[in-house]
Point group: C2
Chain length 194, copies 2
Amino acid sequence: MTTRVLGIDPGLTRCGIGVVDVERDRRARLVHVGVIRSPADADPGVRLAMIAAGIRVVLDEHAPDVAAVERVFAQHNVASVMGTAQASGVALMLAAERGLPTATHTPSEVKAAITGYGSADKAQVQHMVARVLGLPEAPQPADAADALAIALCHAWRSGAAPAAEALTATPAQRAWAAAEKRSRVARTYVRTPR
Amino acid sequence: MTTRVLGIDPGLTRCGIGVVDVERDRRARLVHVGVIRSPADADPGVRLAMIAAGIRVVLDEHAPDVAAVERVFAQHNVASVMGTAQASGVALMLAAERGLPTATHTPSEVKAAITGYGSADKAQVQHMVARVLGLPEAPQPADAADALAIALCHAWRSGAAPAAEALTATPAQRAWAAAEKRSRVARTYVRTPR
């Protein structure tokens, strides 16, 4: 079974957006990657509308099954964090309106999922994204590669267990993983009026 | 000339929304007030889609000329500030997509505009909102009254000069106000593709 995952690294100046097809055995294929930009001198509402328009194009063209957005923290760069949070809200809303389940992952969850440790640097994450997707080099700019990393992280954390882990898991670990998976499926989507 | 102003006090649990008609001489009339709610146990994307659906209903029914949203600060309650920022992003985006100019105002700007001083408490703001709009009492809950306060603040700060100030302004003050008004008009809206 292939899951098509939309990953978004939210931002007003550069919003990374990527789509990957991920198999249950963790194999992954690049479907789309890009960056949506908006001019810093535009009205905040207009900037968010430009980001929304770009996200809608990708939703329309690639019809992902699920959306994952990087979680924004208030502790980060205060100057830009509010714009980043606003863009993440727009992304989550648009995906939910299409009926997609949505999830957020922290930067360290993404790093841990992709490289094996949560304090990996950006270059290591980008290197692994390129390797997993069989790309000659990491997509540029970094926001584009980050969006793919978020999508891969989500796919791997939510079902496509690593083959090696599956082989070494104890029966208790496998039972816990199965229960956890059932509880995820139970969180069904509520369609809201357009 | 009457300006119809949409005011939004963003939030995920309760999003205050109000519409007022404001005359150039600061007189104002209540058009709509309400609160859009979303359940705390729903998916963040679904919650934002519910808020969006409620905002769209008000945009459709009341066709405001301009939208004002309370500005969110990272320093506030960290537990809820990200959801509040996400809701504000959705509100600004929806208004801009309809072609409305959007603006944000800080809580102290709103308090100063409504009561005359930036450190007024919530009860004072609510009292003045009711008085300005000729209501027997302030709309409940507080988020609804706050949304009206934001709308009134925006109208008064951006054109509808207080009658008393207009009478006492010096020629230089009036020239500055006129130039400032022209520069505002020059910031034209850029329509983005749907």
